[in-house]
């Protein structure tokens, strides 16, 4: 089984790259005949990825959420899976390459660095951890997608304002739809991040003797949470709209990524397990 897991681990980046290639080709050429086959290819990629995650969980006896590279592969899956559902529900197809490339980045790093860890710290076997990590991951994929749509909104906004009617203008959905997609993803991300934070605040002090409220990841996540909170509230109250909200979403995403990288690679925190 370990060989199969290793094989899938090598194969997954290629699957994502090929899927990205098909989506990008379709984006450039706008061929009607690729509209369904690209979706099928994404589905196959996700199927292989799900198989990989399941076999890994069975073989190692724990879900792949115990270190940053395991989390990266789950994040790659969560981002593409969320996009797949979004594409099915909304039938907005022009934005795929911009989302799938995020999955490629996460999966390539994960595939290169992931190791076979069978023994995990006792503390990581808690069920609460599962809920905490799961909600945090889906929350992060929500804000990732929100940031991507926010970025696309800004690009299209600029093109329309400057009378540049190129590929972006031709292929992307309307500004209003991009804003809605970015905002809905941000709300999903915010709600799940809130759940992750609440569980974290209740559970972490009991689980970790060296728990500190000054933990960089906690601070980073709190900043992200507050930023999104401000953005969502302002938008709901009708005070902010369009550019302001999407810029906030992009900034929130960048802070979230930076805080993850800092805490995990600099090993400054109890949050680093690898």
């Amino acid at each position: 089984m370990i060989n199969f897991i290793d094989f899938l681990n090598i194969l997954l980046p290629f699957f994502y790259v090929v899927t990205f290639g098909i989506y990008s080709y379709d984006f450039m050429k706008g061929k009607k005949e690729l509209a369904n086959s690209k979706r099928l290819f994404l589905f196959i990629t996700l199927l292989f990825h799900a198989t990989y995650l399941i076999t890994r969980t069975i073989y190692f006896g724990h879900p792949p959420i115990t270190n940053v590279f395991e989390i990266f592969t789950v994040l790659a899956f969560a981002v593409s899976f969320s996009y797949f559902v979004l594409e099915l529900v909304t039938d907005i197809r022009g934005t795929g390459p911009f989302i799938i490339i995020i999955s490629i980045l996460f999966q390539v790093v994960s595939s290169l660095e992931i190791e076979h860890i069978i023994t995990v710290k006792e503390v990581l076997k808690s069920n609460l951890l599962g809920v905490h990590v799961f909600s945090a991951l889906v929350g992060y994929s929500g804000i990732t997608i929100s940031a991507v749509y926010g970025f696309l909104y800004l690009m299209l906004y600029k093109e329309i304002k400057l009378n540049q009617f190129g590929l972006i203008f031709d292929r992307l959905p309307s500004l209003e739809i991009l804003e809605k997609l970015s905002f809905s993803s941000a709300i999903i991300g915010f709600v799940l991040l809130t759940i992750a934070i609440i569980i974290g605040i209740i559970w972490l002090p009991q689980a970790f003797p060296d728990f500190s409220y000054a933990d960089p990841k906690l601070i980073g996540t709190s900043i992200v949470w507050i930023l999104y909170g401000i953005g969502i509230l302002s938008k709901l109250l009708g005070k902010w709209r369009g550019k302001k909200v999407v810029i906030l979403s992009i900034v929130g995403f960048i802070i979230a990524i930076l805080s993850t990288m800092l805490t995990n690679f600099l090993s400054l925190s109890f949050h680093s397990f690898y």
């Binding site: 706008g30 299209l156 329309i160 304002k161 009378n163 009617f165 203008f169 992307l172 959905p173 309307s174 500004l175 209003e176 739809i177 809605k180 009708g238 709209r241 369009g242 550019k243």
Partner: protein, 428 residues
């Protein structure tokens, strides 16, 4: 096939002449009635804003397209028409011309998507007048296939190629769910009317018209079932609209940056689309510097139009390939309408049916009877086919390939499904 086509269109004649030759439905019916029997055994008269065309199978070999041209010149003798104003085609070129017309690649506005319906309607008139026969129907069927293929397999009809439609395309890139949006059209002239109609076609939620002359606004509003805003105070209502299209002939600006700024404040900065399709411009171009105000004038809309037109032009080779393929298919079918191959195909078809049925049932007969069964069934087939074969041979010997003969053979092949049924050796 001797199909004749004579056309007066934007390639060959000036607009005044095309206007003079425009035919209403009654004119078309009258001309079809006159041409039938005199010039054509069957045919089609097509008339659009930019073309008047006659297609037909001549009643005899001596009829040429000069006769058709003279027929038109006689009918419209009040206008200075001369042979240089005509484009004339014969046989394969005539069919090809119809195919080019139906796909829109011969149109003034390349890829014009109304021409398909116009050709279809003309054919229906022709059918109604009894002017369309077996061959014209097959030509029309082939043209329909070409038209549909060019729509589905190429992008010849994609993208907006008129300024008012480009405005709507641009609006749809900024706002979605137009049924929940409101639009104000300033100016009830022709341009304003077209823009308003486009918006209504796209299902705009609320449509309002304002015009300096209230009567004109009322007339347009009535036909579009939209609201009217008095021109004197339309600025007070500006904030109620997500889209403002202006197409007046006012010499000065009617909407300043300050007006838009005030309205944006009231709108709480909700996106506002301003389409200035007037010359000279009606709105201050500086409004484009305001956040969430999407100001576009005729120049920026022309960029979209030009881009779409050049995309359509790049699709022409693909359409021409489809035309050539379907021309080959059509003439393969037409060339099969010869007496000798039809006799062979017909006999092969009957023999295949006979052999199949005998094969299925011969086990029900004794060995001696099986031989008799073969002989008897073959004799029946020969007797059935005797008379048709003699008649067809007469055609073959006389070398008669007239439209009547082709029609007779075509109907025969269609009746027995010969073109759908290929003998085994051909399949291999």
């Amino acid at each position: 096939m001797k199909l004749l086509a004579v056309s007066i269109n934007h390639h060959s004649a000036p607009v005044e002449l095309r206007e003079a030759l425009y035919l209403g439905i009654e004119d078309i019916k009258n001309l079809a009635t006159e041409a039938k029997g005199k010039l054509f055994s069957e045919g089609l008269v097509l008339c659009t804003c930019n073309r008047t065309e006659f297609y037909g199978i001549p009643v005899d070999k001596n009829i040429s397209y000069f006769d058709v041209q003279n027929f038109v010149i006689e009918k419209k003798s009040t206008h200075k028409i001369n042979p240089e104003h005509f484009q004339s085609f014969m046989s394969r070129e005539a069919v090809k011309h119809l195919f080019r017309v139906i796909t829109g690649i011969d149109s003034l506005l390349i890829g014009d998507n109304q021409i398909f319906k116009q050709v279809k309607d003309s054919f229906l008139v022709s059918e109604e007048m009894g002017f369309s026969g077996f061959l014209m129907k097959r030509i029309f069927d082939a043209a329909t296939i070409v038209g549909k293929r060019s729509i589905t397999e190429t992008e010849i009809g994609e993208g907006a190629v008129t300024v008012s439609y480009a405005a709507v395309q641009l609006i749809e890139k900024i706002l979605s769910t137009l049924n929940k949006k409101s639009a104000l059209v300033i100016g009830a002239g022709e341009t304003g009317e077209i823009a308003a109609k486009h918006l209504q076609d796209r299902g705009i939620g609320t449509l309002a018209i304002t015009n300096r002359t209230i009567e004109k606004a009322e007339k347009l509003a009535q036909s579009l079932k939209s609201k009217i805003i008095p021109f004197s105070n339309f600025k007070e209502h500006l904030h109620e609209y997500d889209i403002v299209i202006s197409a007046t002939s006012a010499p000065d600006l009617i909407l300043t940056k300050e007006d838009v700024k005030k309205s944006m404040k009231k709108r709480n900065s909700a996106s506002l689309v301003l389409m200035d399709i007037a010359i000279p411009r009606d709105m201050d171009p500086e409004t484009k510097n305001l956040d969430y105000v999407f100001y576009h004038d005729i120049d920026s809309l022309n960029i979209i139009v030009e881009q779409n037109l050049s995309k359509r032009k790049s699709e022409i080779p693909k359409v021409e390939k489809i035309i050539e393929e379907e021309l080959d298919n059509f003439f393969n079918w037409y060339n099969s309408l010869q007496a000798a191959p039809t006799i062979k195909n017909l006999r092969d078809y009957f023999e295949a049916v006979r052999a199949e049925e005998v094969g299925k049932n011969k086990n029900k007969f004794s060995t001696d009877d099986q031989e008799k069964l073969e002989i008897v069934t073959k004799r029946i087939i020969n007797k059935i086919l005797h008379h048709p074969t003699i008649e067809l041979r007469k055609s073959a010997e006389s070398g008669d390939n007239s439209p009547e003969s082709a029609t007779r053979l075509g109907i025969l092949r269609e009746l027995f499904g010969i073109d759908n049924h290929k003998p085994d050796e051909e399949k291999k």
